[in-house]
C-alpha cells in the first residue's frame, strides 16, 4: 500500500482542508445544572465535556491547601467508547495522568488563583470521541466551563495543535495526521496578550522549522478564540435577556 498522502499536490489535506484551516468548531455552555460551570465542545469529530466545581473548601487532606491561592485540580478522562478500540480504564493511566498535569499547569497560568486562598477548584474533562487534538479540545472546553462558573480568568485559554508535513505546517491535526508520526506541537495561548500557557512538542523538529509550526498553531488558537468568544457573548446575552431587570 502506498503511504497515505497527507498533503496532496493541490495543497489539500485528507479531509479536504487547507493547511491552515480548522475543523468545524461547535460549543455550548451551561449544559448541566449541578456543577458550577459546564461546557461541551466539538472540534470536527473530537468531542469533549468539561465541568467545573468551585472554588470550594479543600476536600481531602487539609494540608494540601495553599495559604495564598487556590489549588487547581484537573482530571482528564477518556470514555471507554471514545477510541476505535475500546479502552480498559477511562482515567488513571500514564497518558491521562500526564494530560491532567498539563491541564493543571495551563489553568494555573490563566485563573486568577490568588483571589481564592485556601480553596480548591476542580476541573473534570472527558473525551467522548477522540479524533486528534484531545488536549486542545479539553483546554477549549474547560475554558468555557470556567467562564460559565464565573471564575476570574486573565484571558481565554485557546489551544490548538500543529504539525509539519513536507515542509508545510498544518494546523489542528486530526487523528489520521497525528498517527502518521510527523513532528507535532500543542500550544495553549492567551490570545489577547499572546502569552503561552503551555507548549508541548512531540518528536524532534529542526529549529528552523519551529517558527512555522508555532505560527500555524498560534493562528489556529486565535481562530479558536474568535469562535469561543462568540459562544460566550451569545450565552451572556441570552442569560441577561432572560434575567431582564
Amino acid at each position: 500500500m502506498a503511504a497515505l498522502e497527507l498533503l496532496s499536490a493541490e495543497g489539500f489535506r485528507p479531509d479536504g482542508r487547507r493547511p491552515a484551516e480548522l475543523r468545524k468548531l461547535r460549543a455550548r455552555m451551561g449544559v448541566f445544572a449541578q456543577p458550577d460551570g459546564s461546557a461541551y465542545i466539538e472540534q470536527g469529530n473530537t468531542k469533549a465535556l468539561a465541568v467545573v466545581y468551585g472554588p470550594h473548601e479543600m476536600r481531602g487532606p487539609r494540608s494540601k491547601a495553599l495559604p495564598d491561592r487556590a489549588l487547581v485540580n484537573c482530571q482528564y478522562s477518556m470514555a471507554t467508547f471514545s477510541t476505535g478500540e475500546r479502552k480498559r480504564r477511562p482515567h488513571g493511566d500514564r497518558k491521562s495522568s500526564e494530560m491532567s498535569l498539563h491541564l493543571k499547569q495551563t489553568f494555573e497560568a490563566a485563573i486568577l488563583t490568588e483571589l481564592f486562598p485556601r480553596s480548591q477548584i476542580d476541573i473534570y474533562v472527558q473525551i467522548l470521541q477522540a479524533d486528534g487534538g484531545n488536549y486542545c479540545a479539553c483546554v477549549n472546553a474547560a475554558t468555557l466551563a470556567v467562564i460559565d462558573a464565573g471564575i476570574p480568568l486573565r484571558d481565554y485559554v485557546c489551544a490548538s495543535s500543529a504539525g509539519l508535513v513536507e515542509d508545510a505546517a498544518l494546523a489542528d491535526l486530526s487523528y489520521l495526521e497525528e498517527a502518521a508520526g510527523g513532528p507535532q506541537a500543542a500550544l495553549a495561548l492567551l490570545p489577547t496578550s499572546g502569552q503561552m500557557a503551555l507548549l508541548q512538542l512531540d518528536s524532534r523538529l529542526h529549529e528552523d522549522r519551529l517558527g512555522a509550526v508555532l505560527e500555524a498553531a498560534g493562528g489556529a488558537c486565535r481562530a479558536v478564540h474568535a469562535v469561543l468568544d462568540r459562544v460566550v457573548r451569545e450565552h451572556v446575552r441570552e442569560l441577561t435577556a432572560l434575567l431582564g431587570d
Partner: protein, 294 residues
Amino acid sequence: MAAVAMRLPVARKAVAPSGSRGDEKHLVAPGDTITTDTGYMRGHGTYVDEEKLIASVAGAVERVNKLVCVKALKTRYNGEVGDIVVGRITEVQQKRWKVETNSRLDSVLLLSSMNLPGGELRRRSAEDELAMRDYLQEGDLISAEVQSVFSDGAVSLHTRSLKYGKLGQGVLVQVSPSLVKRQKTHFHDLPCGASVILGNNGFIWIYPTTEQKDEEAGGFTTNLEPVPLSDREVISRLRNCIVALATQKLMLFDTSILYCYEASLSHQIKDILKPEVMEEIVLETRQRLLDLEG
C-alpha cells in the same frame, strides 16, 4: 406495568434580544479591555495590566462613580453581613461548627454565637462544648444570619434569634445565588399552605407552616410527627415550581413563587418538570409580574 414517558431531543429555541429597552447593558468577556483611562478604580471581576482595566469574568459592567465592577452571571455565594443563609453542617470542631453554604470556603458557626436550647443566656461551659454534637451534628441543616465576613471571603454565622436554628422536616432546593432577590424578609408563610426560607446563598428550604411559631423555631428539637399528605403535595408542587423558575432564570421571591404556584395548579405535580409545561407556567408568571409592575 407502569407507563414510561419518553421524549426526543428538540432543538433549543434561541432567546430573542430583550427588546429595545433603551438601556443596553455593556457586556464583556474575560480579556476584554473595559477602559484605558487610569482614573477608574478596579472592582470585582476586573484586573489591571499595563495600565488597562481588563475584565476577568463574563458579564455586565457596573459603574459606581469611579468604581468599575463586572458582575458574573453565575458565581458561588459571596457573603454579606445580614444575609439569611441556609446551610448544612459538615464538621464539628472545637467550639465551632463548619457549615457548607455554597460559599468559596466553608462558613463557621461559633458555639458562642448561638442561643442554647431553652433560650438561656449564660457563658458557654466545657460541658456545652462536649454536648455540641447533641445540638447540631454533621448533615443537619440550619438557617442562620451572616455575622461577619473574613478577609479571605469566609463567613461567620450566628443564630441569635428564635427565627434561626435547626431545620426539621422539609425540602431543600439549590439554585444559583444570583437568582434569589434581596428583600426585607426572606422567611415567607405562603398562602398556599407552606413556608419557604429563601437563603441568599441560593439554598431554599420549603417546610410545612406551623401554628405555634415562637416555640418551634430556633429550637433544636425537631418535630418528627408525620406531615399530612395535603401538606406534602403543596411542598412538592412548590419545589417543582421553584425548579421551573430557576431553569427559566426568573428571579425568586415570594410573589414570583406564588404566581408560579397558581399557574401550575392546572397541571399534575410531576408534570411541572416537563420542559414544555415549565416554559408555559413560567411565561404566565412573567406576564403576571409584568402586569403587576404596570
